[in-house]
Amino acid sequence: MAAIIDIHPAKHRTRVRRATAESAWSRWLVISIAVGFMGLMFVLPLVVIFQEAFRKGWDGYIEAFDDRATMHAIWLTLKVAAITVPLNTIFGLAAAWCVSRFRFRGKRLLTSLIELPLWVSPVIAGLIYVLLFGAQGFFGPSLKEHGIKIIFALPGIVLSTIFVTFTFVARVLTPQMEAQGQAEEEAAMTLGANGFQMFWRVTIPKIKWGLLYGIILCNARSMGEFGAVSVVSGHIRNKTNTVPLHIEVLYNENQFVPAFAVASVLTLLALATLILKTLTTTKRGAA
C-alpha cells in the first residue's frame, strides 16, 4: 500500500508515497470528479454561449449589434455603471479604512451590515425602492407632485444597482488592508504628512491592486445585474432596458443569435474579471 511502483519501461524508478498523501488512483479520482464537475457546470455553459452567438457566423454576430434597441441598452448600462462604480468605490474605501484601521464599539455589527446586501435577494433589492419611490410608495405622492420620476427611470436603476454591488469594493479591500497593517501610514504621519498626503502617497499605492480588482468586480456586477433592475425598470424598450434586460427580451422573442451575441460581451467581461483576479492575487497579498 505504501509504495507505488511505476512500471513504465523508459524510467525504472520507484516512487514512495508519503504517509500524508492519498494513493495515486484516489488522487486521480478526486481530480477527475472535480474537473468533470467544473467542466459540466461551468465550462459547458460558456461554450454554449459562444456556440449560439456564432451560429450564423461572424456576419450574424456583428449584425446582432446593428440594432437601435441593443445600442441603447449598451449605452444605458454604461451610464449606470459610470454612476454606480465611483460611488461604491468611495464607500468601499471609507468602509475599509474605518473597519481595518480603528477599533470601535459596534464594529462587528457594522461589518455584518456592510455584507448584508450580498445576501438579500436581488428582487427584494428592487422591491424596496419601489416601496420608497413607486406610485404607491412612501415618497410616491410628493415625487409625483414635483414631477420627479425614480421608478421606471434611470435613478431607480442606479439605486438598485448600487444596492446589489454595495459590498464588493469594501469586501476586497478590508481583508487586504487588515493583512497589510498600518505601519507605513503611521510612519507617514510621524514624518509630518497630512491625512490627504498619507492617503494618496502611502495607502493608495499599497492597495492599488486590490482596489483595481474591487472596481472591476463591482463594474462587472453592475453591468450584469438583472433581478433588481428588472423590478424597478419597467422594461421600456429604448428607455429603461439595460443589457441584461435586453438579453431577456431578445431571448423571449426567440431571437437567439442576437441574445447570445449580446450575452457573449458580458461573458467576456466576466472572463476578463476572473483573469484580473488571478493575476492580482499575489499582488493583493490574498490567499
Binding site: A34, V35, V120, V130, P244, K277
Partner: protein
C-alpha cells in the same frame, strides 16, 4: 464612543460616511419592507402567508436551495481539496473558474443553462432518453442554484484546508491509521464546520436567486414558481403589501441563515484553532 485619540486620521470622516451611505442605500430602504408589510395589518400578513401559492413557492425555493447546498457540499469539498492538496495540469485555470458565478451576469447564466438542459439541448436531449426532465422542472432550478452557490463552499474551505496542520495527519499515520482512517477521523472532522458554513452561505445565496433561475424554471404556479418570482408577480398586480410580506419572510430567512453561518464560523475557529 471613540474617546481615545487615534494615530491615524479620518476615523470620524470614514465612519460617518460609511454609516450615512449604509443607512441611505440599505437600512432605510429595507425598513420600508417591514413598514409596507404591516400596512395590510395582521389579517393582510396572514392572508398572504397562508395563500397556497405563496406556501408552494416558498417550499420550492427552500427545498431546491437546500438540495443544491447538499450537492455543493459534496463537490465543493472534493474540488477545494483537489485545488489545495494536488497539483495537476489546469489547476490554476480551474481555481480561477470557481469564481465564474460571481462575475457572470445571472441572466447570461440563465439562458446558457436553459439552452443546455432544454429537451433539445446538449444535456437535456441526453437526459430525455432516460425520461428525466431538467429544464422547466424543479431539477432545472436545482441545477441553476448549484451553479450560483458553488463558489461559496470552495472559497470557504480553501483557506481552512491550506491551514490544516500536517502534524495531525502525520501523527495519525504514525499511530498506524491508514490514509482513509486519517481522512475520515482526523481531516474530515476538522473540515466539517467550514463545509457546513460554506453550504449555509450557498443556501442563503440560492434562496433569493432570481436571474439564473427564471429562464430554466418555466415559472408554472404551484410547480416551478420560486418565491422571488412571486414577489415580482405581486408587484405587477400592484399588491405592494403582499409583495412586501413575502419579502419580509425571505429577509428574516436571510438573517437566520447568516446567523447560522456566523455560528458555524465560530465553531470552525474553535475546532481549527484559528
Amino acid at each position: 464612543m471613540a474617546r481615545t485619540r487615534h494615530v491615524l486620521p479620518g476615523f470620524r470622516l470614514s465612519l460617518g460616511f460609511t454609516i450615512t451611505y449604509l443607512s441611505l442605500i440599505v437600512l432605510i430602504p429595507l425598513s420600508m419592507l417591514v413598514w409596507k408589510a404591516s400596512t395590510g395589518g395582521w389579517d393582510g400578513v396572514l392572508n398572504t402567508i397562508t395563500h397556497a401559492r405563496v406556501i408552494a413557492s416558498l417550499k420550492l425555493s427552500f427545498t431546491t436551495a437546500f438540495t443544491a447546498a447538499l450537492v455543493n457540499g459534496f463537490f465543493g469539498l472534493l474540488t477545494a481539496w483537489a485545488l489545495e492538496r494536488y497539483s495537476f495540469p489546469g489547476r490554476r485555470v480551474i481555481d480561477a473558474m470557481v469564481d465564474l458565478p460571481f462575475a457572470l451576469p445571472t441572466a447570461v447564466a440563465g439562458i446558457a443553462l436553459v439552452t443546455l438542459y432544454a429537451p433539445n439541448g446538449w444535456i437535456g436531449a441526453w437526459l430525455a432518453q432516460y425520461d428525466i426532465k431538467a429544464a422547466y422542472a424543479p431539477l432545472g432550478i436545482t441545477i441553476a442554484l448549484v451553479f450560483v452557490g458553488f463558489p461559496f463552499v470552495v472559497r470557504t474551505l480553501q483557506p481552512v484546508i491550506a491551514d490544516l496542520s500536517m502534524e495531525l495527519e502525520e501523527a495519525a499515520a504514525c499511530l498506524g491509521a491508514n490514509r482513509w482512517q486519517t481522512l475520515t477521523r482526523v481531516v474530515f472532522p476538522a473540515l466539517l464546520p467550514a463545509t457546513l458554513a460554506g453550504m449555509t452561505l450557498a443556501f442563503g445565496r440560492a434562496v433569493g436567486e432570481y436571474g439564473s433561475v427564471v429562464f430554466i424554471s418555466g415559472n408554472l404556479p404551484f410547480k416551478t414558481e420560486i418565491a422571488p418570482l412571486l414577489i415580482t408577480m405581486r408587484l405587477e398586480e400592484y399588491d405592494y403589501s403582499g409583495a412586501a410580506t413575502i419579502g419580509v419572510i425571505m429577509l428574516i430567512a436571510s438573517f437566520l441563515i447568516l446567523f447560522t453561518a456566523d455560528l458555524l464560523a465560530q465553531w470552525n475557529r474553535k475546532r481549527t484553532g484559528h
